[in-house]
């Protein structure tokens, strides 16, 4: 009898977790659809969009730039030492470029921006929830999904590819600097080699990924903040959950998108 009840309790725990997961997935999906649909329906808040674009895009430039610069440099060193094993040191420029543009630019940039933006959006919206500012918007005939969520989603979805593009350029430059100063490449040959092997498809697919990551970053920040629990603890939990869930979703989406974009 005791065995039976403990087995039942164990199964119930699994069931409750599974149901909770389903509920959370459903709530997130509905939130995402609602938020995205408000991007296309008036009224729009262009001033709010501009503010968010500046905050998410412009002020993330230093973080993304530094990440790309050092990653590009390290990549050049790694590929050089790997390539030297079969006398293929000359692949450094092309592989740095392809690696940055297709994978590391969007993913590392996305993860850095997730840390910066998801957290601050979640904390901001969470505090607004806790201090009833979100309810106050409703009483002022302003839909918070339109005024708060839609501009952030749109701003991040547009800003992230631009950031990733800047990151691509800086990352390739990082590889170039290391290649020329440490690995004895001729500057002109390095640039020519980069140009020769990098295609438009590489760049575009990387930017598509970045746009998806941007959406995920803003979505998780907004969702967690919007549904924040009460008090400082609630906002703290919302912030943590936003960063963790955004990062994991970025990595998962990256695999799925890579599969979809490059396997064909």
């Amino acid at each position: 009898m005791i065995v039976l009840t403990s087995v039942a309790a164990f199964l119930a725990a699994i069931g409750a977790t599974a149901l909770g997961l389903c509920r959370a997935t459903g709530a997130l999906t509905l939130f995402a659809l609602s938020g995205a649909s408000h991007i296309f329906r008036p009224p729009w808040y262009p001033a709010e969009f501009a503010r968010q674009f500046l905050r998410i895009g412009y002020f993330s430039l230093p973080v993304v730039g530094m990440t790309a610069l050092f990653t590009g440099g390290a990549l050049a060193l790694q590929i050089y030492s790997g390539g030297a094993r079969f006398n293929a040191e000359s692949v450094v420029p092309s592989i740095v470029a392809i690696g940055m543009v297709r994978e590391l630019g969007p993913v590392l940039g996305g993860l850095m921006v997730a840390g910066r933006v998801s957290a601050s959006v979640a904390a901001e919206l969470g505090t607004m929830r806790v201090t009833e500012q979100i309810d106050a918007l409703t009483t002022l005939s302003t839909n918070p999904m339109k005024y708060l969520v839609a501009p952030r989603l749109l701003a991040a979805t547009i800003a992230m590819p631009i950031l990733a593009f800047v990151g691509d350029v800086i990352g390739i430059m990082g590889g170039f600097l290391v290649g020329v100063t440490r690995l004895n490449f001729a500057p002109s040959a390095y640039i020519r080699n980069t140009e020769q092997y990098l295609t438009g498809d590489d760049i575009v697919s990387g930017l598509i990924k970045a746009a998806a990551f941007g959406f995920i970053i803003a979505l998780m920040g907004c969702y967690q903040g919007y549904n924040s629990g009460r008090g400082a603890q609630g906002v703290g939990a919302a912030t943590t959950n936003a960063v963790v869930s955004a990062s994991i979703l970025i990595l998962a989406a990256n695999y799925i998108l890579t599969e979809a974009l490059f396997s064909s």
Partner: protein
């Protein structure tokens, strides 16, 4: 004012409104009528469902059962929008937008709503409303965080009355204020409600507020309206719950530990 049926439909009517959060039954069938131009004050202890009642009327919380009528019509998304377009609310903590200047808070509806006004004009109206609640024009260009609690309440009040609403809700207007500031806010609320001719609904547990603001009083207890009547009848009532509440006695039918 009596309990007899008013000639016009009530501005706001709640009929058997119920709401539970999980196993906790917050509202167990609230029936309440607020006539046009009347100042209704809902009293009751903490956690008895005052705020939830207010949020149900606003549509922020969806009731599990019962009806909410606005001007006699069942509340839908559409007529709720119409209600909110002529609506103002003072939140307990002010709920000012801390990323905006004081005047931008007051002028929010004029800057974002369907009837948008030019910046300079909106600012002028905002400053006028700030003056009406006793704040100098210099406060207009400060951020809410730079103001004291009493001043934030006043800004919240100015925002609530900025577009001369037909309905105003006050959520615990005097909580956290010193007695003198509470008196000032009570007096302001009474003046403004009379001046604008608005229908007002206030929730509070401050009896000084009740006497200053109310035309009619309803007491909510355990998710139901326990008693309602004109403010003048409050002291005469023999209802043990009301009498315990208004005299602030620890002993009585209402358990002190909740």
């Amino acid at each position: 004012m009596t309990d007899a049926n008013p000639p016009a439909p009530s501005r706001i009517a709640l009929k058997g409104v119920r709401k539970s959060f999980g196993p906790k039954h917050v509202l167990r069938g609230v029936d309440l009528d607020v006539a046009k131009g009347e100042s209704m004050v809902i009293i009751g202890g903490s956690g008895t469902g005052k705020s939830v009642t207010l949020k149900c009327v606003l549509g922020i919380i969806e009731p599990d059962a019962g009806e909410i009528l606005i001007n006699g019509a069942r509340a839908t998304a559409r007529n709720r929008e119409a209600l909110l377009s002529r609506f103002g609310m003072l939140f307990q903590g002010g709920a000012l937008f801390d990323s905006m200047l004081v005047w931008e808070n007051v002028a929010f509806r004029m800057r974002h709503g369907a009837h948008r006004r030019p910046r300079a004009e909106a600012r002028e109206i905002a400053i006028e409303k700030l003056r009406r609640v006793g704040l100098t024009p210099e406060t207009a260009d400060l951020f809410p965080a730079e103001l004291s609690g009493g001043m934030q309440k006043r800004v919240g009040l100015a925002r609530a009355i900025a577009t001369d609403p037909e309905i105003i809700f006050f959520d615990e207007p005097t909580t956290g204020l010193d007695p003198i500031m509470a008196g000032v806010i009570n007096e302001l609320i009474r003046e403004l409600v009379t001046e604008i001719g608005a229908t007002a609904m206030t929730i509070t547990h401050d009896m000084t507020s009740v006497r200053a603001i109310a035309d009619r009083v309803a007491m909510i207890h355990e998710g139901e309206i326990r008693w309602q009547g004109a403010v003048g009848e409050l002291d005469a009532t023999e209802d043990p719950y009301v009498s315990q509440f208004i005299h602030g006695r620890a002993e009585g039918p209402i358990a002190a530990i909740r």
